[in-house]
Symmetry: C2
Subunit: 137 residues, 2 copies
């Protein structure tokens, strides 16, 4: 198994609300039919699907809240962290943590999408962001 | 916010067990200190961190089980799906769904890692896998 993640699927309660939120962040759906929405996210795919169907398909029991996964979106400067957090809030996110310097030498904040999925927005000066959206250690 | 995911962090109960599981899948840590493990996963990063600390950092309440996120690892053939599932089981995963043809015209199965995080392993003939590990719609 070579190390790559092809797809992150977020289970959602209301597909239209979830799609509109990500569109509000500036993302554009590349596939939107049969109850599934896919966004091309750099070299991978972000999917939105019924949380109930995703649980059944994944062979797990839904505990109903957060389950131990957080996504991160890295940007090129502390100012860009704040800009993304403002945009997320305007699109309907809850700001869980405002932008601030971190113990690891960067700057980050966090928002939670309408289905409770958290995203850290971070500037990590030790990591490389490529022009085509890849993040390299 | 341009559409990319930089990092997926999985909250874990036992960092050594979690790291050993992903090493057993064939992944190699690129950073392993201060209670955090990072793997380069194609153009993004997979992180392992204390689930309790991740919840606090993400500004969410942990519901203790699965919380609506499933990862997927796409491969180039149905046979490779079965090979990855076998390797995951050998490394300590629970097989949630054996490899089988899917309604969307592909072939997939699913495993659940030792911390309850599910992965679909899929061959989707309609998506493109690049040699450098990107998945394109």
């Amino acid at each position: 198994m070579d190390p790559h993640i092809s797809l992150v699927t977020l289970g959602v309660a209301d597909l239209t609300r979830a799609r509109d939120f990500y569109v509000g962040l500036g993302w554009q759906p590349r596939f939107d039919q049969d109850g599934v929405v896919f966004f091309q996210a750099g070299g991978m795919v972000l999917g939105l699907w019924s949380r109930e169907e995703l649980a059944a398909d994944s062979g797990v029991v839904d505990s109903g809240g957060w389950g131990g996964v957080t996504l991160a979106h890295n940007v090129r400067s502390p100012g860009e962290v704040d800009t993304v957090l403002e945009r997320a809030e305007s699109a309907g996110a809850r700001i869980a943590r405002s932008g601030a310097e971190t113990p690891w030498g960067g700057y980050s904040g966090a928002f939670v999408d309408p289905d409770g999925h958290p995203w850290e927005v971070a500037h990590n000066p030790m990591w490389t962001l490529t022009d085509d959206g890849r993040t390299l250690l």
